[in-house]
Symmetry: C2
Subunit: 234 residues, 2 copies
DNA sequence: GCAAAAGTGTTTTTGTTACACCCATGA
DNA sequence: TCATGGGTGTAACAAAAACACTTTTGC
């Protein structure tokens, strides 16, 4: 304490942009705050970083609290620190984005907040700078998913190629050539075809695939070029 | 204050990883601290975020203080927050990396620190988690420079293709095919050939080039694919 | 005249894109 | 039997990679 005593201290929070995919479109998990300030307004899930915690621990704790999930994909997005971003008090926010298997999500009982999934094009007004955080998270997800197989984190254990196709076209808000898409995905050797078919979505049914976990882990950082002309992603 | 009063407050600092290029190799600017704690040890340049400042302002202020430069390329790298990363007190560090034209750098007179440029493979032991920050900055620079023309930020107004070649091979610690490299660089149309030659580096002399600032700004986010097989960049 | 670094084209290989029809099934 | 969505191959084109010799000039 002796050397830094003149410096201003700040609150430090972690806010999580939580993405899920329901087989048709990408969704975002938001909470309606049950506490002041901004009680009743829509918000990202967040919380203050505890005295003995690092950011990852705080992020994991918050995610667990809201979704019941642990060991999910979570990655630091950006640190936000405008002096007045939280009008109540100087608060720095370390934003993380998480990708979860929406099927594993279970609504938590809590008085503090009530959570809901939103389609990405129907996001309500959010408190503070949370809309900016969401925008940035979408950009980063697009950027990263163009090269790395990160979107598989959103899929259930067994999934079909049409589902995956829906996810990619949704994330990039574009149509992709179905044959080229299939070829590219399968050429990564990341997927293992199952014998069963998914029969809900269509009459013919679509084959299930599973991730080859070994290959996935080892190729995660490789450049797989999922998206044609990834220009202008930012 | 009324709602957050129970939360722990922390110090928030900005640390800058400052890269420069002398025409031959990539360098890092470090300071030897003239103040406690860790007086005399090598460190990144940093400082606390002031009560009315955001991170970018703090980063710019710190960079100006050490290098005399303003309006240089600076980008947020990562937020570090392990509870004991600074043994003195709980301090969160928002790390930024900066790319400067080493020729414009002018040593600042200050009692507080004495600065020196280091080759990237001769970095001394650094305080706290600064070595980890440097490592991460190198990785991010490699990643980003593989797709975006960011390394031009390190060059002086006029530079030669051999200098640029040295920079790229240095950053990726690899040899590149000279003809393919030249073709790729020139095919971006980002460079304008000058009439004069640089005569210091060789007998024959190498033509100077300048950045086409307009094109550079508009293509900055495009994917230019500078590096063959960018796999395993992380 | 020779050492040292700059500059320059072509061929091969690889990857990307464009494109359209048949299949399986439940209603 | 037909409507719906699933599944599949090929040819043209574009981009990347491999490869070596000539030029200039200061010493």
């Amino acid at each position: 304490m002796k050397h830094y005593s003149k410096q201003k201290r700040m609150l430090v929070a972690v806010d999580s942009i939580i993405f899920g995919f329901d087989g048709h479109e990408l969704k975002l998990l938001l909470i309606q705050r049950g506490f002041e300030p901004e009680k009743g307004k829509w918000s990202l899930m967040g919380g203050f970083v505890g005295p003995e915690e690092d950011f990852e621990q705080a992020g994991a704790r918050i995610l667990k609290q809201l979704t019941g999930l642990k060991n999910v994909y979570i990655e630091q997005l950006y640190a936000f620190g405008e002096p007045t971003r939280d009008p109540e008090d100087r608060t720095v926010s370390i934003a993380y984005f998480a990708l979860i298997d929406i099927g594993k999500y279970e609504k938590q009982i809590s008085d503090d907040f009530h959570a809901e999934w939103f389609s990405l094009n129907k996001i309500p007004k959010l408190i503070f700078d949370h809309s900016r955080m969401v925008k940035m998270a979408k950009e980063k997800l697009r950027y990263k998913a163009a090269f790395h197989p990160i979107l598989f984190e959103l899929m259930p254990e067994k999934f079909t190629l049409p589902q995956l196709y829906n996810l990619y076209t949704g994330v990039y808000d574009t149509v992709l050539d179905k044959r080229n898409f299939t070829r590219k995905i399968l050429s990564t050797k990341l997927l293992v075809k199952q014998k069963e078919k998914e029969k809900e979505g269509s009459k013919k049914g679509a084959f299930y695939y599973k991730l080859d976990k070994r290959r996935y882990d080892s190729q995660f950082h490789s450049f797989l070029n999922f998206i044609p002309n990834p220009d202008n992603l930012k």
